[in-house]
């Protein structure tokens, strides 16, 4: 019954349908099955959330785990061996240290480098493609730039490790070949196509009438692009940058290969950095099932999951509000 109510069939056709023999019962059964399968996506995201949280919970409730690590030990500076309070990630030492701070700083450093490169590049390229390039060039540029998104991240990691690392070291004189700057630069190559695609979509969606009105009032083409088209597309562009941020924080293989993976707590881009993702990737293989280390790695995963879902929701909210405004105007 609910299925019938939601069909897109025009009312008249449906009414006439009542005169012919109704669809066989098994059609209804198949349609109910389709609806059930559609719920699989909901089940998937719920299961992911449930299981990451479930494996992290011992940090709150398991006495053995809590003797070694708690949430406050992960976030607050600790005094080890009577030394001054500090944050330290050394899970394999005699006295395991699980401070998340160096990993968060490492992730943020690399992500900000990646965004600082990919946001201007992606947005400018989108402006060129959507508003300046002639149509034929545009039809070539879009798929070519989107091809960059299809390059597997391990391949970009290897490129950073072998080629880009040498270039950047020569250009900036870094002491260490593998560092936050290199990882961020390599990472920007996967974020650029994402921001480009979303920004391009937003710019192309700006109504033609806006452009015509501006030109008719005597504005130049470029003035129109900068003062009319881009402002109208800002929410879509912003959503793209937010999504790019989430994607960059969650990227794993590039940073594992190119960041050097030393868990240092400093702001230098020339130093090696260790991210949350790379830590999970490198340490889960050695962590004993159910051990404090294993639980801590799942806590890292849960932190990452909550963070990326939040950025996703923010991006969706921006787009929705934008759509509501547009609909109202």
């Amino acid at each position: 019954m609910p299925l019938e109510a939601t069909t897109t069939v025009p009312r008249k056709v449906r009414a006439r349908g009542a005169f012919r023999r109704g669809a066989p019962a098994w059609h209804r059964l198949v349609e109910a099955g389709i609806k059930l399968v559609a719920a699989a996506a909901i089940a998937a995201i719920l299961l992911i959330f449930a299981f990451i949280v479930k494996e992290s919970l011992p940090i709150l409730f398991d006495a053995v785990v809590r003797r070694e690590v708690t949430l406050s030990k992960m976030w607050l500076p600790q005094r080890w061996d009577g030394a001054a309070a500090r944050w330290s990630w050394q899970p394999a030492s005699e006295l395991p240290k699980y401070s998340i701070a160096p990993l968060v700083v490492g992730s943020l450093k690399i992500t900000l480098v990646a965004l600082a490169i990919s946001a201007p590049l992606g947005i400018l390229a989108a402006i060129f493609t959507a508003s300046i390039a002639p149509r034929r060039l545009r039809e070539v540029l879009k798929p070519v730039i989107e091809l960059l998104a299809g390059v597997p991240s391990v391949v970009l990691g290897v490129f950073a490790l072998i080629v880009l690392g040498t270039w950047l070291q020569r250009a900036f004189g870094f002491e260490h070949r593998l560092n936050a700057m290199l990882a961020g630069a390599a990472l920007s190559m996967t974020i650029v196509p994402l921001i480009f695609t979303l920004a391009e979509d937003a710019l192309s969606a700006v109504p033609r009438a806006f452009v015509d009105a501006s030109l008719a009032l005597g504005a130049t083409k470029m003035h129109t692009v900068l003062r009319v088209v881009v402002p109208a597309a800002v929410p879509g562009i912003a959503a793209g940058v937010v999504l790019g941020f989430g994607r960059a924080i969650g990227e794993t293989m590039i940073v594992v290969i190119a960041s050097g993976n030393a868990a240092l707590l400093d702001a230098s881009l020339g130093h090696s950095a260790r991210t949350i993702t790379a830590t999970i990737a490198q340490e889960m293989g050695e962590a004993v099932n159910g051990s404090p280390h294993y639980v801590v790695l799942f806590v890292l995963g849960a932190t990452l999951l909550v963070f990326t879902l939040a950025t996703n929701l923010v991006a969706q909210r921006i787009v929705e509000r934008f759509r509501a405004q547009r609909g109202g105007s």
Binding site: I42, I45, L137, L147, V154, L156, R247, A281, L305
Partner: protein
């Protein structure tokens, strides 16, 4: 490229006289800054792509041979080929495709053909798909380990194998199912787009001839959208073949003497092979030819799939535009 652009600009009839009458030099300068900066951004991005591909081609091409594609690695990964890794990648993506395509296509059919735009279920499904696409790939790896290997696999072992470890370990089937969930949004989005591109008149004609909704959907709409559905499947395969983080703990192996023959076997994988060669090689210079050879094979595989998908999609879009 820039010359073509300027021609495009000159074609806009209103800009020139107005600009001249205003005589604003500063405005002109700002105009050209934007033009140059945005064109430069495009050039830089295209260069990035060409440098990465060119680097892999230049360094990897000499390694490629029939032997490299079929042989197993030898001599501590310093010689031999990537045969088992290609086999493992293929086996993994086939199992993944079998799992993800039916679920993804049926979900898209629900969203495009059955659900009302404002229906509660459709909105929650859309929200889930959008969020699923944002989950980091390493979290999928953790999920695969916690859910498929530990919960489902151990559960099967307890019930069917008397507690003997059979499915409760990282293996091909769990890695494939993990990737299936990761690629689910790709299939759903591409398929829904393809279904929506089928003109309304086709559905109306079919219904008017007395076909039921289900007959119309599977007899008329789905066949029309087959190109787009295929695109989604290809993009999912390409994405799945290139992802490494989700399979790290769910079944990929460093080296195996034999090819996987069962769903609960571990497997070698091209992307994982590249990762291992890049990070754990005792002798970087001697590994380099093999490393680049593997990169080129992986790139060739994912890239070819992507290119095909993009061409099909462009055709489908043009076709839809022409019809409407």
């Amino acid at each position: 490229m820039i010359a073509a652009t300027e021609r495009g600009l000159g074609g806009s009839p209103t800009s020139r006289p107005v600009r001249a009458s205003q005589g604003r030099v500063a405005g002109k300068a700002a105009d050209s800054v934007l033009l140059v900066a945005s064109a430069a951004a495009v050039v830089i991005i295209v260069l990035m792509l060409m440098v990465v591909l060119g680097d892999a081609l230049v360094h990897g091409a000499s390694t490629l041979s029939l032997g490299f594609l079929t042989e197993a690695p030898r001599g501590g990964m310093l010689a031999g080929g990537v045969g088992p890794a290609i086999f493992g990648t293929a086996a993994l993506t086939i199992v993944m495709t079998v799992a993800v395509v039916p679920v993804g296509v049926l979900t898209a059919i629900y969203l495009a053909e059955y659900a009302a735009e404002a229906s509660w279920l459709a909105r929650v499904v859309r929200l889930s798909v959008a969020n699923l696409a944002g989950v980091p790939s390493i979290v999928f790896g953790l999920f695969g380990l916690g859910f498929f290997v530990q919960a489902v696999g151990r559960g099967i072992d307890r019930v069917a194998f008397g507690g003997q470890v059979t499915y409760g370990q990282p293996s091909l089937v769990w890695a494939a199912l993990t990737l299936a969930i990761l690629t689910l949004p790709v299939v759903i989005v591409a398929t829904e787009e393809a279904l929506r591109a089928v003109p309304r008149s086709m559905r109306d004609a079919s219904l008017a001839l007395g076909a039921t909704k289900l007959q119309t959907t599977f007899g008329v709409v789905v066949p029309q959208a087959l190109g787009g559905i295929l695109t989604g499947a290809i993009l999912a395969v390409s994405r799945g073949a290139g992802e490494v983080a989700p399979i790290l703990f769910t079944g990929a192996a460093f080296f195996l003497p034999e090819l996987p023959t069962h769903l609960n076997d571990q497997f070698m994988h091209l992307g994982y092979h590249v990762y291992v060669l890049a990070t754990q090689s005792p002798d970087v210079d001697r590994t380099k030819p093999i490393l680049y050879g593997s990169v080129l094979v992986l790139l060739g595989l994912t890239f070819a799939l992507n290119a095909v998908a993009i061409v099909i999609r462009a055709r489908t879009r043009q076709g839809a535009a022409a019809r409407n």
